[in-house]
Symmetry: C2
Subunit: 255 residues, 2 copies
Amino acid sequence: MDVKPARRTDSHFVASLEKAMRVLEAFGPEQARLGLTELSIETGLDRSSVQRLTTTLHQLGYLDKDATTKRFSPSIRMTELANRYLWSDDLVKSAMPRLIDLRQALGETINFSRLDGTDIVYTARLPSSRTSYAAMIIGRRVPALNTSSGRVMLALREPGERQRAIEEWPMQRFTSQTTMDREAVKRLVEEAAETGYSIAENELQMNELALAVAVNRNGEPGGAIHCSVSGTVWTRERLREDVMPRLRDVANAIG
Amino acid sequence: MDVKPARRTDSHFVASLEKAMRVLEAFGPEQARLGLTELSIETGLDRSSVQRLTTTLHQLGYLDKDATTKRFSPSIRMTELANRYLWSDDLVKSAMPRLIDLRQALGETINFSRLDGTDIVYTARLPSSRTSYAAMIIGRRVPALNTSSGRVMLALREPGERQRAIEEWPMQRFTSQTTMDREAVKRLVEEAAETGYSIAENELQMNELALAVAVNRNGEPGGAIHCSVSGTVWTRERLREDVMPRLRDVANAIG
């Protein structure tokens, strides 16, 4: 997340805290373990700052340190922070039993995501064994325009805002077939506004078909329920006929 | 987590960071939304510190603020921090597809937990709709001695350490039948050391039967796989016969 320079002059702003979060944010799928030099490069902070921050985060139990390589990695306590968020999220709380029933009835992957800025973030995941690890764990952030969940949530916004988002929000290529043409995205969002659901094919992974339905909370997108299936055994038609009404029922029940 | 006073005199220790984490840790199941006064009481920090820290955490996107009540709550970004941890956890990564298959084959709740200090923390959860919300979400922390997972992991430690843990680690009563007698806990841990599994009944919830098997990583408990079922339809015998060998297979495969 960008921190606007203006904030730094705010007397209420704790600069060392911003730096500490920058250190935690340096870790990711391709950078699960980082040493002081790497962290300094990744964060743009000088080595002594990085050392003080990692030492403190390690002492507080939020970073693990490998005894041999001296590299740091986020600790299990990160899941406890997620736990604190999940307790405060009434929508996920009320959705969970129904999402589990859906997963059981369909035998396919069920996700719950929310719009956060220009991205979606997955907060509940009930995977099938076909699912990749990235798609199994909560907290994954993906540009909204590249996902069925993002498009169907965006479709709930008023037309002007929708149009601005389609023009300006970032996009990311995940496969050779990821939709990168904003006119095509516009058509998909308009379609979602009309039908109330959105289907994505090969967007994040090849051979993946996904259907998403938005949860309408007083006219605002509260979240999206999303079912992901194999393109080998499913068709768009079957998704629409067998899965869409069930997702719609759950979305209505918790909206 | 207790921060020893000695740390504060360490020139490498960033005191404001410790205070910020104390603010985040104040939130929990019964305290999902907190105002400045409540946070000040919970953390023991003066109101102006709490104000500076919450303002910064809010600006950085880690705390949400209710526009009406002005109360704070942990934001969805906490799930992203958990995501960073999960990417660094090779054991959970390799266990996940097998845990999903187990969940599918048994039709019952499957959990993966790790020992962290004197507690266990759940890092992967594949719930059934019978499961309570607390038992559905990752990052839950429970005293190890009160759980089958904790006992079976402790059983992998050498006898002296095991004994010290049984005498000293904290325990917590969850139901009227939670085992609070350390002699009884000792018998359960010894039994787990002999059989390689542990069964808990009504310990965290009434009418819950749970079976756990430890993952042995070079003689150290790498984690525990745990299956939770209803005491109404299951018996200890059936758990032992139908579930235990499958859990053992998965534990062997990933250990």
